[in-house]
Subunit: 223 residues, 2 copies
DNA sequence: GGCGAGAATGACCCTCGGTGTCATTTGATG
DNA sequence: CATCAAATGACACCGAGGGTCATTCTCGCC
């Protein structure tokens, strides 16, 4: 009953980049290292020779593991290329799950996203930028990011419903989840276009702008 | 220069269900019939034996065409299963492209979506319902729908920018595109849960509710 | 009505992502 | 140290999707 599921812990650990945290069991640390090695290899090889031109075998060889280990670690070839993206949203969901600040929910989500980003390890900025650049160039990766975000959106809406004690199908929750993530998405696009200048601080500033654009958009009228 | 690209016409024709419209060249009518036969076969077989358990060969055989024709007609196995969904969004984009009504843009998009839906052929309701039921049961199809909608969202934002003479990167446009489609998505979910009762009229009513939830969501506060 | 050009189709090949199996290795535990 | 569980690697397999090429059909023109 009180059995610890290390697999879950290990993923959270990856998020913080503590893949050699001595507090983790050795077995878990090894799994994390494999995961990180594969994700790094993916970032490198996909950028170098393209997504389609990279086979799973090459990826596995670059990370010095077997193809079997790859397929057990990632649910798809694409997933290895967007680890940084996945880390962000996992941290975000965890933050929201820990509690939504009082006040307008959209502001709370904004705050949670900023907090989550603050907790990511130092290498995240560069890895995220690389991920997003790949996504722009490779349709398959872009598609996968969309898919991943849609799942996060669902979990977010469900988490909010639990937190705020509202019906899980409350339209407002779904709209809010969509809004928060769209705001980030828009900010991210601009940030990447600017080469990621200013690091995550600048990305956060863009996010704040995008959040402000939400109420403004409702006032936009044709003609 | 004035050469007609029939392929585009044929897709629009499929939308209206006029796959035996005598005004179309015979060659195009045949292509449309193949397309429709494959989409229908997909709806049938995917529901019957599951998405994964259906091979392209079986699909092709059911529609009495070759596997080659399938891969030339659809960009993925999933695409055949969500034709009804695709028809809706194609009609929507076409409507928006024809002009956005004056007044608040979100209302204009709401109107455009309603108009687009009104123009779909009579078999659409049932086919759309079947499509959505499949999407709920089959993760692969759900993922594909997300991907498809994301592409529509981009085109919508771009189309709005052109129509309203705004910058293509204007945050408000992206937010609005997201909002309109999310509203439909939420309404659709409820409609499917209710077994599609009331046909498209009832779906439209749900859409109106969802659109109204947008400003309401911004007022939602924690605690 | 017949003819030539071009488009669509079908039969066939191949690559590779993803799954399942099974033996082997390695970390955890008492 | 012995036992057990979990992770790994080697291997075989299926099927989606892409490419090639010969064949068939539609269209525009004579």
């Amino acid at each position: 009953m009180s059995r610890v599921t290390w697999s879950r812990v290990s993923y959270a650990a990856t998020m913080a980049g503590m893949d050699d945290d001595r507090s983790l069991p050795l077995r878990e640390r090894k799994k994390l290292r494999n995961r990180r090695a594969l994700a790094d290899a993916a970032l490198r090889l996909f950028a170098e020779r393209g997504f389609d031109a990279t086979t799973l075998e090459e990826l596995a060889e670059e990370a010095e593991v077997s193809k079997s280990t790859f397929t057990r670690t990632f649910e798809a070839k694409e997933a290895a290329g967007i680890e940084a993206e996945a880390e962000l949203w996992a941290a975000f969901l965890a933050t929201v799950d820990a509690g939504v600040p009082k006040g307008p929910v959209l502001d709370g989500l904004h705050r949670a996203l900023a907090d989550a980003m603050a907790g990511l390890d130092g290498t995240w900025d560069a890895r995220f930028l690389a991920t997003r650049r790949l996504a722009v160039a490779e349709p398959a990766l872009l598609r996968y990011v969309e898919h991943h975000r849609a799942r996060v959106r669902e979990q977010l809406a469900a988490g909010l419903a639990a937190r705020l004690d509202l019906d899980a199908e409350d339209l407002r929750l779904h709209v809010l989840a969509e809004l928060a993530m769209t705001a980030f998405s828009i900010a991210g696009r601009a940030w990447v276009r600017g080469g990621g200048a200013g690091g995550r601080a600048s990305l956060l500033a863009g996010l704040a702008d995008a959040i402000r654009a939400v109420p403004a958009s409702l006032d936009l009228a044709a003609e």
